[in-house]
Protein backbone atom coordinates (compact mmCIF):
# COMPACT_ATOMS: atom_id res chain seq x y z
CA UNK A 1 0.00 0.00 0.00
CA UNK A 2 1.34 3.40 -0.90
CA UNK A 3 0.06 6.89 -0.31
CA UNK A 4 0.74 7.55 -4.01
CA UNK A 5 -1.85 4.97 -5.09
CA UNK A 6 -5.16 6.19 -6.54
CA UNK A 7 -7.75 7.23 -4.00
CA UNK A 8 -10.25 4.52 -3.15
CA UNK A 9 -13.66 4.93 -1.55
CA UNK A 10 -13.47 5.51 2.17
CA UNK A 11 -14.68 2.78 4.43
CA UNK A 12 -18.03 3.61 6.02
CA UNK A 13 -17.02 2.57 9.52
CA UNK A 14 -15.55 5.43 11.46
CA UNK A 15 -15.66 8.06 8.71
CA UNK A 16 -15.60 11.63 10.01
CA UNK A 17 -18.93 13.50 9.90
CA UNK A 18 -19.35 15.82 6.96
CA UNK A 19 -19.82 19.29 8.48
CA UNK A 20 -17.28 21.70 6.98
CA UNK A 21 -16.26 24.86 8.75
CA UNK A 22 -14.49 27.59 6.79
CA UNK A 23 -11.02 28.39 8.06
CA UNK A 24 -9.82 31.54 6.33
CA UNK A 25 -6.07 32.12 6.18
CA UNK A 26 -4.99 34.84 8.55
CA UNK A 27 -2.70 37.73 7.72
CA UNK A 28 0.57 37.36 9.60
CA UNK A 29 2.97 39.40 7.58
CA UNK A 30 2.96 43.14 7.99
CA UNK A 31 2.99 45.57 5.10
CA UNK A 32 4.84 48.10 7.21
CA UNK A 33 8.52 47.82 7.99
CA UNK A 34 9.66 46.90 11.50
CA UNK A 35 10.15 49.80 13.90
CA UNK A 36 13.92 49.33 14.11
CA UNK A 37 14.23 49.36 10.31
CA UNK A 38 12.14 52.53 10.02
CA UNK A 39 14.22 54.16 12.77
CA UNK A 40 17.61 53.28 11.36
CA UNK A 41 16.39 53.79 7.79
CA UNK A 42 15.45 57.41 8.52
CA UNK A 43 18.81 58.00 10.21
CA UNK A 44 20.67 56.57 7.22
CA UNK A 45 18.68 58.78 4.81
CA UNK A 46 19.35 61.87 6.95
CA UNK A 47 23.04 61.05 7.19
CA UNK A 48 23.27 60.59 3.43
CA UNK A 49 21.32 63.76 2.51
Amino acid sequence: MSSAEPKQPETERGALPDAPLAMPKQVLTSESQPVWRRFFGSRIVKAGS
Binding site: M1, S2, S3, E5, P6, K7, Q8, E10, T11, R13, G14, A15, L16, P17, D18, A19, P20, L21, A22, M23, P24, K25, Q26, V27, L28, T29, S30, E31, S32, P34
Partner: protein, 594 residues
Protein backbone atom coordinates in the same frame (compact mmCIF):
# COMPACT_ATOMS: atom_id res chain seq x y z
CA UNK B 1 -15.27 41.86 22.09
CA UNK B 2 -14.00 43.45 25.28
CA UNK B 3 -11.73 41.35 27.40
CA UNK B 4 -9.91 43.88 29.42
CA UNK B 5 -10.79 42.77 32.97
CA UNK B 6 -8.35 39.83 33.00
CA UNK B 7 -5.69 41.96 31.36
CA UNK B 8 -6.12 44.59 34.05
CA UNK B 9 -5.42 41.81 36.53
CA UNK B 10 -2.26 41.00 34.62
CA UNK B 11 -0.89 44.55 34.87
CA UNK B 12 0.62 44.18 38.35
CA UNK B 13 2.39 40.85 37.69
CA UNK B 14 3.70 42.14 34.37
CA UNK B 15 4.95 45.39 35.86
CA UNK B 16 6.54 43.57 38.82
CA UNK B 17 8.16 40.96 36.59
CA UNK B 18 9.57 43.50 34.16
CA UNK B 19 10.72 45.90 36.86
CA UNK B 20 12.50 43.22 38.90
CA UNK B 21 14.15 41.68 35.84
CA UNK B 22 15.29 45.07 34.53
CA UNK B 23 16.64 46.01 37.96
CA UNK B 24 18.50 42.73 38.39
CA UNK B 25 19.94 43.00 34.86
CA UNK B 26 21.03 46.62 35.41
CA UNK B 27 22.60 45.71 38.76
CA UNK B 28 24.55 42.82 37.25
CA UNK B 29 25.67 45.05 34.36
CA UNK B 30 26.95 47.77 36.67
CA UNK B 31 28.66 45.31 39.00
CA UNK B 32 30.49 43.70 36.12
CA UNK B 33 31.56 47.06 34.72
CA UNK B 34 32.98 48.04 38.11
CA UNK B 35 34.84 44.74 38.20
CA UNK B 36 36.19 45.37 34.71
CA UNK B 37 37.13 48.95 35.61
CA UNK B 38 39.53 47.80 38.30
CA UNK B 39 42.25 46.88 35.78
CA UNK B 40 41.23 49.37 33.11
CA UNK B 41 37.99 49.22 31.16
CA UNK B 42 38.35 47.74 27.68
CA UNK B 43 36.03 46.76 24.84
CA UNK B 44 35.87 43.16 25.96
CA UNK B 45 34.63 44.25 29.42
CA UNK B 46 31.74 46.10 27.79
CA UNK B 47 30.91 43.13 25.55
CA UNK B 48 30.90 40.79 28.56
CA UNK B 49 28.84 43.23 30.60
CA UNK B 50 26.23 43.26 27.81
CA UNK B 51 26.13 39.46 27.76
CA UNK B 52 25.63 39.50 31.53
CA UNK B 53 22.87 42.13 31.18
CA UNK B 54 20.78 40.03 28.80
CA UNK B 55 21.41 36.72 30.55
CA UNK B 56 20.57 38.12 33.97
CA UNK B 57 17.36 39.65 32.64
CA UNK B 58 16.31 36.26 31.35
CA UNK B 59 17.19 34.45 34.59
CA UNK B 60 15.40 37.04 36.71
CA UNK B 61 12.36 36.78 34.46
CA UNK B 62 12.17 33.03 35.10
CA UNK B 63 12.68 33.54 38.83
CA UNK B 64 9.85 36.08 38.93
CA UNK B 65 7.45 33.56 37.43
CA UNK B 66 8.07 31.32 40.43
CA UNK B 67 7.76 34.19 42.90
CA UNK B 68 4.47 35.32 41.35
CA UNK B 69 3.23 31.73 41.25
CA UNK B 70 3.94 31.38 44.96
CA UNK B 71 1.96 34.54 45.69
CA UNK B 72 -1.33 32.95 44.62
CA UNK B 73 -3.17 29.64 44.72
CA UNK B 74 -4.86 27.72 41.91
CA UNK B 75 -8.59 28.44 42.19
CA UNK B 76 -11.48 27.50 39.91
CA UNK B 77 -13.32 30.37 38.21
CA UNK B 78 -16.78 31.23 39.58
CA UNK B 79 -19.35 29.10 37.73
CA UNK B 80 -23.11 28.64 37.90
CA UNK B 81 -24.36 25.33 39.36
CA UNK B 82 -23.77 22.43 36.96
CA UNK B 83 -26.99 21.28 35.30
CA UNK B 84 -25.57 19.01 32.63
CA UNK B 85 -23.93 19.72 29.28
CA UNK B 86 -25.67 21.07 26.20
CA UNK B 87 -22.65 21.09 23.89
CA UNK B 88 -20.91 18.60 21.63
CA UNK B 89 -17.13 18.20 21.83
CA UNK B 90 -14.76 16.40 19.49
CA UNK B 91 -11.68 14.95 21.16
CA UNK B 92 -8.92 15.17 18.58
CA UNK B 93 -6.04 12.69 18.71
CA UNK B 94 -3.42 13.53 16.05
CA UNK B 95 -1.06 10.62 15.38
CA UNK B 96 2.16 10.47 13.40
CA UNK B 97 3.87 7.09 13.10
CA UNK B 98 2.90 6.22 16.68
CA UNK B 99 2.23 2.76 18.10
CA UNK B 100 -1.56 2.52 17.60
CA UNK B 101 -2.08 -0.05 20.34
CA UNK B 102 -0.72 2.28 23.01
CA UNK B 103 -2.44 5.38 21.60
CA UNK B 104 -5.82 3.65 21.29
CA UNK B 105 -5.54 2.19 24.78
CA UNK B 106 -5.43 5.79 25.99
CA UNK B 107 -8.55 6.59 23.95
CA UNK B 108 -10.37 3.54 25.32
CA UNK B 109 -9.40 4.56 28.86
CA UNK B 110 -10.62 8.13 28.36
CA UNK B 111 -13.82 6.81 26.82
CA UNK B 112 -14.42 4.56 29.84
CA UNK B 113 -13.65 7.47 32.16
CA UNK B 114 -16.13 9.67 30.25
CA UNK B 115 -18.81 6.97 30.40
CA UNK B 116 -18.35 6.87 34.17
CA UNK B 117 -19.27 10.57 34.34
CA UNK B 118 -22.63 9.93 32.65
CA UNK B 119 -21.91 12.57 29.98
CA UNK B 120 -20.21 10.45 27.31
CA UNK B 121 -22.88 11.23 24.72
CA UNK B 122 -21.53 14.77 24.52
CA UNK B 123 -18.09 13.63 23.33
CA UNK B 124 -16.74 12.06 20.16
CA UNK B 125 -13.20 10.88 19.44
CA UNK B 126 -11.46 11.65 16.14
CA UNK B 127 -8.15 9.94 15.39
CA UNK B 128 -6.38 12.19 12.89
CA UNK B 129 -3.60 10.23 11.28
CA UNK B 130 -0.68 11.91 9.54
CA UNK B 131 1.25 8.66 9.59
CA UNK B 132 3.69 8.28 6.69
CA UNK B 133 4.69 4.65 7.28
CA UNK B 134 2.23 2.39 5.54
CA UNK B 135 2.82 -0.59 7.83
CA UNK B 136 1.97 1.59 10.82
CA UNK B 137 -1.10 2.91 8.99
CA UNK B 138 -2.33 -0.65 8.42
CA UNK B 139 -2.04 -1.30 12.12
CA UNK B 140 -3.81 1.97 12.90
CA UNK B 141 -6.82 0.94 10.85
CA UNK B 142 -6.84 -2.60 12.13
CA UNK B 143 -6.74 -1.54 15.73
CA UNK B 144 -9.30 1.19 15.10
CA UNK B 145 -11.85 -1.49 14.27
CA UNK B 146 -11.01 -3.26 17.48
CA UNK B 147 -11.38 0.04 19.35
CA UNK B 148 -14.82 0.53 17.78
CA UNK B 149 -15.89 -2.98 18.75
CA UNK B 150 -14.62 -2.88 22.30
CA UNK B 151 -15.85 0.63 23.13
CA UNK B 152 -19.09 0.32 21.14
CA UNK B 153 -17.81 3.43 19.45
CA UNK B 154 -19.83 3.33 16.25
CA UNK B 155 -20.94 6.89 15.50
CA UNK B 156 -18.75 8.28 18.33
CA UNK B 157 -15.26 7.33 17.22
CA UNK B 158 -13.71 8.29 13.90
CA UNK B 159 -10.50 7.66 12.04
CA UNK B 160 -9.05 9.33 8.98
CA UNK B 161 -5.59 9.36 7.45
CA UNK B 162 -4.38 12.24 5.31
CA UNK B 163 -2.70 11.52 2.04
CA UNK B 164 -0.22 14.31 2.62
CA UNK B 165 0.81 15.71 5.98
CA UNK B 166 0.79 19.29 4.70
CA UNK B 167 1.10 21.79 7.51
CA UNK B 168 2.04 19.00 9.93
CA UNK B 169 0.08 18.96 13.18
CA UNK B 170 -1.52 22.38 12.61
CA UNK B 171 -2.51 21.30 9.10
CA UNK B 172 -3.90 18.04 10.48
CA UNK B 173 -6.12 19.89 12.96
CA UNK B 174 -7.11 22.44 10.32
CA UNK B 175 -8.15 19.61 8.00
CA UNK B 176 -10.47 18.32 10.72
CA UNK B 177 -12.14 21.70 11.13
CA UNK B 178 -12.58 22.11 7.39
CA UNK B 179 -14.12 18.66 7.13
CA UNK B 180 -16.10 18.23 10.36
CA UNK B 181 -15.68 21.27 12.62
CA UNK B 182 -19.25 22.41 12.01
CA UNK B 183 -20.60 19.35 13.84
CA UNK B 184 -19.12 20.42 17.17
CA UNK B 185 -19.17 23.30 19.62
CA UNK B 186 -15.73 22.54 21.06
CA UNK B 187 -12.66 20.52 20.18
CA UNK B 188 -10.34 19.10 22.81
CA UNK B 189 -6.92 18.97 21.18
CA UNK B 190 -4.65 16.21 22.46
CA UNK B 191 -1.26 14.77 21.59
CA UNK B 192 -0.77 11.09 20.87
CA UNK B 193 0.63 10.64 24.39
CA UNK B 194 -2.09 12.69 26.13
CA UNK B 195 -4.38 11.16 28.69
CA UNK B 196 -7.21 12.94 30.53
CA UNK B 197 -9.74 12.04 33.18
CA UNK B 198 -13.37 12.07 32.08
CA UNK B 199 -14.27 14.44 34.93
CA UNK B 200 -11.67 16.93 33.73
CA UNK B 201 -12.92 16.79 30.14
CA UNK B 202 -16.53 17.36 31.29
CA UNK B 203 -15.43 20.25 33.50
CA UNK B 204 -13.59 21.87 30.59
CA UNK B 205 -16.68 21.68 28.39
CA UNK B 206 -18.73 23.07 31.26
CA UNK B 207 -16.41 26.06 31.61
CA UNK B 208 -16.50 26.68 27.87
CA UNK B 209 -20.31 26.65 27.97
CA UNK B 210 -20.36 29.00 30.96
CA UNK B 211 -18.08 31.63 29.37
CA UNK B 212 -19.12 32.35 25.77
CA UNK B 213 -16.13 34.67 25.29
CA UNK B 214 -13.65 31.92 26.23
CA UNK B 215 -11.94 30.83 23.02
CA UNK B 216 -9.38 28.44 24.44
CA UNK B 217 -8.89 26.77 27.81
CA UNK B 218 -5.51 25.19 28.53
CA UNK B 219 -4.81 22.66 31.30
CA UNK B 220 -1.45 22.02 32.89
CA UNK B 221 -0.53 18.45 31.89
CA UNK B 222 1.52 16.42 34.34
CA UNK B 223 4.31 14.25 32.95
CA UNK B 224 3.73 10.59 33.81
CA UNK B 225 5.20 7.09 33.44
CA UNK B 226 8.84 8.18 33.42
CA UNK B 227 11.24 5.40 34.37
CA UNK B 228 14.72 6.67 33.48
CA UNK B 229 16.77 8.91 35.75
CA UNK B 230 16.48 11.83 33.34
CA UNK B 231 12.79 11.23 32.71
CA UNK B 232 12.03 11.01 36.42
CA UNK B 233 13.92 14.21 37.18
CA UNK B 234 11.91 15.95 34.46
CA UNK B 235 8.70 14.38 35.71
CA UNK B 236 9.39 15.55 39.27
CA UNK B 237 10.19 19.02 38.06
CA UNK B 238 7.04 19.12 35.90
CA UNK B 239 4.90 17.95 38.79
CA UNK B 240 6.55 19.86 41.63
CA UNK B 241 7.93 23.08 40.14
CA UNK B 242 5.98 23.61 36.92
CA UNK B 243 2.58 24.30 38.50
CA UNK B 244 4.11 27.23 40.38
CA UNK B 245 6.03 28.58 37.39
CA UNK B 246 2.99 28.08 35.13
CA UNK B 247 0.74 29.99 37.52
CA UNK B 248 3.18 32.90 37.48
CA UNK B 249 3.32 32.74 33.70
CA UNK B 250 -0.48 32.64 33.43
CA UNK B 251 -0.79 35.62 35.80
CA UNK B 252 1.45 37.63 33.53
CA UNK B 253 -0.14 36.46 30.31
CA UNK B 254 -3.67 37.29 31.46
CA UNK B 255 -6.23 36.76 28.71
CA UNK B 256 -3.73 36.04 25.95
CA UNK B 257 -2.53 32.53 26.73
CA UNK B 258 -0.67 30.34 27.12
CA UNK B 259 -1.52 27.59 24.65
CA UNK B 260 0.87 24.63 24.50
CA UNK B 261 -0.76 22.83 21.60
CA UNK B 262 -2.40 19.96 23.46
CA UNK B 263 -4.56 19.07 26.48
CA UNK B 264 -6.54 22.21 25.71
CA UNK B 265 -10.11 22.79 24.53
CA UNK B 266 -11.02 25.34 21.86
CA UNK B 267 -14.29 26.84 20.69
CA UNK B 268 -14.66 25.50 17.15
CA UNK B 269 -16.15 28.66 15.67
CA UNK B 270 -13.52 30.89 17.26
CA UNK B 271 -10.67 28.64 16.24
CA UNK B 272 -11.88 28.25 12.66
CA UNK B 273 -12.50 31.98 12.21
CA UNK B 274 -9.21 33.06 13.76
CA UNK B 275 -6.56 30.37 13.37
CA UNK B 276 -6.20 29.53 9.68
CA UNK B 277 -2.42 29.58 9.43
CA UNK B 278 -0.84 30.74 6.19
CA UNK B 279 2.53 29.57 4.97
CA UNK B 280 5.21 32.11 5.71
CA UNK B 281 7.07 33.57 2.74
CA UNK B 282 10.46 32.04 1.99
CA UNK B 283 11.90 28.61 2.54
CA UNK B 284 12.26 26.72 5.83
CA UNK B 285 13.54 27.09 8.49
CA UNK B 286 12.12 30.63 8.68
CA UNK B 287 9.57 30.36 5.89
CA UNK B 288 7.00 27.70 5.03
CA UNK B 289 4.67 26.01 7.50
CA UNK B 290 4.51 27.46 10.98
CA UNK B 291 6.13 24.87 13.23
CA UNK B 292 5.32 26.13 16.73
CA UNK B 293 1.73 26.88 15.81
CA UNK B 294 0.31 26.92 19.34
CA UNK B 295 1.74 30.29 20.38
CA UNK B 296 0.59 31.74 17.07
CA UNK B 297 -2.93 30.34 17.45
CA UNK B 298 -3.15 31.78 20.97
CA UNK B 299 -2.05 35.16 19.62
CA UNK B 300 -4.59 34.98 16.77
CA UNK B 301 -7.46 34.08 19.11
CA UNK B 302 -6.50 36.98 21.37
CA UNK B 303 -6.22 39.27 18.31
CA UNK B 304 -9.80 38.34 17.37
CA UNK B 305 -10.96 39.23 20.88
CA UNK B 306 -11.28 35.76 22.41
CA UNK B 307 -10.12 34.85 25.90
CA UNK B 308 -7.22 32.39 26.01
CA UNK B 309 -6.67 31.07 29.51
CA UNK B 310 -4.77 28.52 31.56
CA UNK B 311 -6.89 27.00 34.34
CA UNK B 312 -4.22 25.42 36.48
CA UNK B 313 -6.72 24.25 39.09
CA UNK B 314 -7.79 21.50 36.68
CA UNK B 315 -6.22 18.17 37.58
CA UNK B 316 -6.47 14.95 35.59
CA UNK B 317 -4.45 16.09 32.57
CA UNK B 318 -1.41 13.98 31.64
CA UNK B 319 1.28 13.56 29.03
CA UNK B 320 4.51 11.63 28.66
CA UNK B 321 7.96 13.08 28.20
CA UNK B 322 11.32 12.11 26.69
CA UNK B 323 13.29 9.59 28.73
CA UNK B 324 16.78 10.71 27.78
CA UNK B 325 18.73 13.85 26.95
CA UNK B 326 19.15 13.01 23.26
CA UNK B 327 15.39 12.58 22.71
CA UNK B 328 14.81 15.78 24.65
CA UNK B 329 17.33 17.56 22.44
CA UNK B 330 15.61 16.26 19.28
CA UNK B 331 12.27 17.66 20.42
CA UNK B 332 13.98 20.84 21.50
CA UNK B 333 15.52 21.22 18.04
CA UNK B 334 12.00 21.35 16.56
CA UNK B 335 10.82 23.81 19.20
CA UNK B 336 13.93 25.93 18.63
CA UNK B 337 13.19 26.23 14.92
CA UNK B 338 9.54 26.98 15.68
CA UNK B 339 10.37 29.71 18.16
CA UNK B 340 13.01 31.35 15.98
CA UNK B 341 10.51 31.27 13.11
CA UNK B 342 8.30 33.53 15.24
CA UNK B 343 10.71 36.36 14.44
CA UNK B 344 8.76 36.57 11.16
CA UNK B 345 5.43 36.84 12.97
CA UNK B 346 6.28 39.15 15.85
CA UNK B 347 5.44 42.15 13.66
CA UNK B 348 2.08 40.73 12.44
CA UNK B 349 -0.67 43.36 12.29
CA UNK B 350 -3.13 43.69 15.15
CA UNK B 351 -1.48 41.35 17.65
CA UNK B 352 -1.76 42.20 21.31
CA UNK B 353 1.46 43.63 22.71
CA UNK B 354 1.87 40.85 25.24
CA UNK B 355 1.61 38.18 22.54
CA UNK B 356 4.43 39.94 20.69
CA UNK B 357 6.42 39.90 23.91
CA UNK B 358 5.69 36.16 24.29
CA UNK B 359 7.23 35.59 20.85
CA UNK B 360 10.29 37.55 21.92
CA UNK B 361 10.45 35.50 25.14
CA UNK B 362 10.38 32.29 23.11
CA UNK B 363 13.20 33.51 20.89
CA UNK B 364 15.20 34.66 23.92
CA UNK B 365 14.75 31.29 25.63
CA UNK B 366 16.62 29.67 22.75
CA UNK B 367 19.28 32.27 22.10
CA UNK B 368 20.10 32.91 25.76
CA UNK B 369 22.59 29.98 25.90
CA UNK B 370 24.50 31.76 23.16
CA UNK B 371 24.90 34.76 25.43
CA UNK B 372 26.38 32.57 28.17
CA UNK B 373 28.64 30.91 25.64
CA UNK B 374 29.59 34.34 24.30
CA UNK B 375 30.41 35.46 27.83
CA UNK B 376 32.65 32.43 28.38
CA UNK B 377 34.49 32.86 25.08
CA UNK B 378 34.88 36.61 25.63
CA UNK B 379 36.25 35.94 29.12
CA UNK B 380 38.85 33.52 27.76
CA UNK B 381 40.10 36.13 25.28
CA UNK B 382 39.68 39.12 27.60
CA UNK B 383 43.27 39.10 28.96
CA UNK B 384 44.54 39.88 25.44
CA UNK B 385 42.54 43.10 25.45
CA UNK B 386 43.43 44.23 28.95
CA UNK B 387 45.69 47.29 28.90
CA UNK B 388 48.86 47.08 31.04
CA UNK B 389 48.35 48.34 34.56
CA UNK B 390 49.43 51.96 35.04
CA UNK B 391 50.71 52.38 38.57
CA UNK B 392 51.32 56.10 38.06
CA UNK B 393 48.05 57.41 36.63
CA UNK B 394 48.42 60.88 38.21
CA UNK B 395 51.02 63.00 36.50
CA UNK B 396 53.69 64.27 38.87
CA UNK B 397 52.61 62.06 41.77
CA UNK B 398 55.72 60.19 42.89
CA UNK B 399 54.08 57.20 44.56
CA UNK B 400 52.47 54.21 42.79
CA UNK B 401 48.71 53.78 42.97
CA UNK B 402 47.65 50.17 43.06
CA UNK B 403 44.32 49.21 41.42
CA UNK B 404 41.65 48.23 43.93
CA UNK B 405 40.82 44.55 44.17
CA UNK B 406 37.27 44.16 42.89
CA UNK B 407 37.26 40.36 42.93
CA UNK B 408 34.53 40.36 45.58
CA UNK B 409 32.24 42.04 43.08
CA UNK B 410 32.75 39.20 40.59
CA UNK B 411 32.11 36.68 43.36
CA UNK B 412 29.02 38.62 44.46
CA UNK B 413 27.78 38.65 40.88
CA UNK B 414 28.30 34.90 40.57
CA UNK B 415 26.41 34.33 43.83
CA UNK B 416 23.57 36.54 42.59
CA UNK B 417 23.31 34.63 39.31
CA UNK B 418 23.35 31.26 41.08
CA UNK B 419 20.73 32.67 43.44
CA UNK B 420 18.45 33.47 40.50
CA UNK B 421 18.97 29.95 39.23
CA UNK B 422 18.50 28.03 42.47
CA UNK B 423 16.43 30.22 44.76
CA UNK B 424 13.08 29.80 42.94
CA UNK B 425 13.23 26.02 43.23
CA UNK B 426 14.29 26.23 46.87
CA UNK B 427 11.40 28.64 47.53
CA UNK B 428 8.96 26.22 45.88
CA UNK B 429 10.31 23.44 48.14
CA UNK B 430 10.02 25.65 51.24
CA UNK B 431 6.46 26.57 50.30
CA UNK B 432 5.57 22.90 49.74
CA UNK B 433 7.00 21.91 53.12
CA UNK B 434 5.22 24.69 55.03
CA UNK B 435 1.90 24.32 53.19
CA UNK B 436 1.73 20.54 53.50
CA UNK B 437 1.95 20.00 49.73
CA UNK B 438 5.19 18.07 50.33
CA UNK B 439 3.19 15.18 51.82
CA UNK B 440 1.89 14.38 48.33
CA UNK B 441 5.53 13.99 47.21
CA UNK B 442 6.61 11.60 49.98
CA UNK B 443 7.14 14.08 52.84
CA UNK B 444 9.35 17.04 53.66
CA UNK B 445 12.60 15.05 53.89
CA UNK B 446 12.18 13.40 50.52
CA UNK B 447 11.10 16.67 48.88
CA UNK B 448 14.16 18.43 50.26
CA UNK B 449 16.48 15.66 49.03
CA UNK B 450 14.77 15.48 45.63
CA UNK B 451 15.05 19.25 45.23
CA UNK B 452 18.76 19.29 46.07
CA UNK B 453 19.51 16.33 43.78
CA UNK B 454 17.46 17.94 41.01
CA UNK B 455 19.50 21.14 41.37
CA UNK B 456 22.76 19.18 41.12
CA UNK B 457 21.31 17.17 38.25
CA UNK B 458 20.24 20.26 36.31
CA UNK B 459 23.62 21.92 37.00
CA UNK B 460 25.43 18.94 35.47
CA UNK B 461 23.13 18.69 32.46
CA UNK B 462 22.89 22.47 31.85
CA UNK B 463 26.19 22.76 29.91
CA UNK B 464 25.13 19.81 27.72
CA UNK B 465 21.79 21.47 26.99
CA UNK B 466 23.61 24.74 26.35
CA UNK B 467 25.61 23.04 23.62
CA UNK B 468 22.58 21.32 22.07
CA UNK B 469 20.64 24.59 22.05
CA UNK B 470 23.58 26.50 20.62
CA UNK B 471 23.89 23.97 17.81
CA UNK B 472 20.15 24.14 17.14
CA UNK B 473 20.16 27.94 16.95
CA UNK B 474 23.18 27.98 14.64
CA UNK B 475 21.62 25.32 12.41
CA UNK B 476 18.42 27.33 12.09
CA UNK B 477 20.23 30.63 11.55
CA UNK B 478 22.31 29.04 8.79
CA UNK B 479 19.22 27.66 7.10
CA UNK B 480 19.05 23.98 8.11
CA UNK B 481 15.50 22.66 8.36
CA UNK B 482 15.17 20.11 11.16
CA UNK B 483 12.01 18.58 9.65
CA UNK B 484 9.48 16.78 11.79
CA UNK B 485 11.04 13.67 13.33
CA UNK B 486 8.80 11.14 15.06
CA UNK B 487 8.84 11.32 18.84
CA UNK B 488 10.49 8.34 20.51
CA UNK B 489 8.24 7.04 23.24
CA UNK B 490 8.70 4.28 25.77
CA UNK B 491 12.03 2.93 27.03
CA UNK B 492 14.79 5.34 26.10
CA UNK B 493 17.86 3.60 27.52
CA UNK B 494 20.95 4.65 25.59
CA UNK B 495 24.07 2.47 25.55
CA UNK B 496 27.35 4.35 25.74
CA UNK B 497 27.98 3.87 22.01
CA UNK B 498 24.71 5.64 21.07
CA UNK B 499 25.32 8.29 23.67
CA UNK B 500 28.81 8.88 22.24
CA UNK B 501 27.39 9.13 18.72
CA UNK B 502 25.05 11.90 19.88
CA UNK B 503 27.49 13.87 22.02
CA UNK B 504 31.07 13.36 20.81
CA UNK B 505 31.14 16.89 19.42
CA UNK B 506 30.29 18.28 22.86
CA UNK B 507 33.29 16.38 24.31
CA UNK B 508 35.48 17.88 21.60
CA UNK B 509 34.30 21.41 22.34
CA UNK B 510 34.74 20.85 26.07
CA UNK B 511 38.38 19.86 25.51
CA UNK B 512 38.99 22.77 23.12
CA UNK B 513 37.51 25.33 25.49
CA UNK B 514 39.37 23.96 28.51
CA UNK B 515 42.69 23.81 26.64
CA UNK B 516 42.23 27.33 25.27
CA UNK B 517 41.50 28.62 28.76
CA UNK B 518 44.53 26.81 30.16
CA UNK B 519 46.81 28.59 27.66
CA UNK B 520 45.10 31.96 27.37
CA UNK B 521 43.63 32.63 30.80
CA UNK B 522 44.77 29.98 33.33
CA UNK B 523 43.22 31.91 36.23
CA UNK B 524 39.77 31.20 34.73
CA UNK B 525 40.20 27.41 34.71
CA UNK B 526 38.58 26.83 38.15
CA UNK B 527 35.59 28.97 37.06
CA UNK B 528 35.24 27.00 33.86
CA UNK B 529 35.48 23.49 35.32
CA UNK B 530 31.77 23.23 36.31
CA UNK B 531 30.94 23.78 32.62
CA UNK B 532 33.81 21.95 30.94
CA UNK B 533 33.71 18.75 33.02
CA UNK B 534 30.04 17.89 32.21
CA UNK B 535 30.80 18.65 28.54
CA UNK B 536 33.80 16.31 28.51
CA UNK B 537 31.79 13.64 30.35
CA UNK B 538 28.65 14.18 28.22
CA UNK B 539 28.46 10.62 26.79
CA UNK B 540 28.63 9.13 30.29
CA UNK B 541 26.13 11.66 31.66
CA UNK B 542 23.67 11.04 28.82
CA UNK B 543 23.98 7.25 29.02
CA UNK B 544 23.83 7.09 32.83
CA UNK B 545 20.81 9.37 33.06
CA UNK B 546 18.94 7.32 30.42
CA UNK B 547 18.99 4.20 32.62
CA UNK B 548 16.16 3.13 34.88
CA UNK B 549 15.96 4.93 38.20
CA UNK B 550 15.94 2.69 41.24
CA UNK B 551 15.59 5.22 44.06
CA UNK B 552 12.63 6.84 45.78
CA UNK B 553 13.97 10.23 44.78
CA UNK B 554 11.73 12.31 42.53
CA UNK B 555 8.60 10.65 43.86
CA UNK B 556 5.40 12.28 42.58
CA UNK B 557 1.79 11.98 43.75
CA UNK B 558 1.00 9.88 40.66
CA UNK B 559 3.71 7.37 41.66
CA UNK B 560 2.00 6.93 45.02
CA UNK B 561 -1.55 6.92 43.68
CA UNK B 562 -1.87 6.66 39.89
CA UNK B 563 -4.91 8.39 38.41
CA UNK B 564 -7.88 6.08 37.71
CA UNK B 565 -7.60 6.74 33.97
CA UNK B 566 -3.94 5.65 34.06
CA UNK B 567 -4.86 2.38 35.78
CA UNK B 568 -7.65 1.88 33.28
CA UNK B 569 -5.22 2.37 30.40
CA UNK B 570 -2.78 -0.11 31.96
CA UNK B 571 -5.52 -2.75 32.14
CA UNK B 572 -6.68 -2.16 28.56
CA UNK B 573 -3.15 -2.12 27.17
CA UNK B 574 -2.24 -5.32 29.02
CA UNK B 575 -5.33 -7.07 27.69
CA UNK B 576 -4.72 -5.88 24.10
CA UNK B 577 -1.04 -6.73 24.12
CA UNK B 578 -1.88 -10.17 25.40
CA UNK B 579 -4.23 -10.92 22.52
CA UNK B 580 -2.83 -9.59 19.25
CA UNK B 581 -4.96 -9.97 16.15
CA UNK B 582 -3.60 -10.61 12.69
CA UNK B 583 -4.26 -7.90 10.13
CA UNK B 584 -7.29 -8.71 8.02
CA UNK B 585 -6.46 -8.65 4.27
CA UNK B 586 -9.31 -6.27 3.39
CA UNK B 587 -8.13 -3.71 5.94
CA UNK B 588 -4.58 -3.80 4.64
CA UNK B 589 -5.83 -2.59 1.25
CA UNK B 590 -7.30 0.66 2.55
CA UNK B 591 -5.23 3.60 1.30
CA UNK B 592 -4.69 7.01 2.78
CA UNK B 593 -7.39 9.58 2.21
CA UNK B 594 -7.02 12.93 0.62
Amino acid sequence: MALTSKDRGAFFPRALGLAFSALAAAGAFMLFLQFGWSDGLDAMDIVRALFILISTFWLAWGAMQAVLGLMSRALPPPLPPFQGLRSKTAILVPVYNEDPVTVYSRIAAMDASLKATGHAEHFHFAILSDTRKDDVAVQERLWFHRLLDECEGEGRMFYRRRESNKGRKAGNIEDFFQRSGGAYDFALILDADSLMEGDTIVEMARRMEAEPELGLLQTLPKVTRAKARFGRAMQFSASFHSPIFARGLAMMQGATGPFWGHNAIVRCRAFAESCGLPELPGKPPFGGHIMSHDYVEAALLARAGWLVRLDDDLEGSFEEGPENIVDHAKRDRRWCQGNLQHSKIVNAPGLRAWNRFVFVQGILSYISPLFWLGFIVASIFAPWFTPPVNYFPVEGWPFPIFPSDETWKAIGLAIGIFGLLFLPKLLVAADAITSGRAKEFGGAGLVFRSTLVELVFSSITAPIFMMFQTRSVLQVVFGADGGWPTNNRGDGTLPLSESWAGTWWIVLWGLVVLSATWFLAPSLVPWLLPIAIPMILAPFVVSWTSRASRTRLFLTPLDIQPAPVMLMQDRILASWQGTPRDPAPDLMAVPAQA
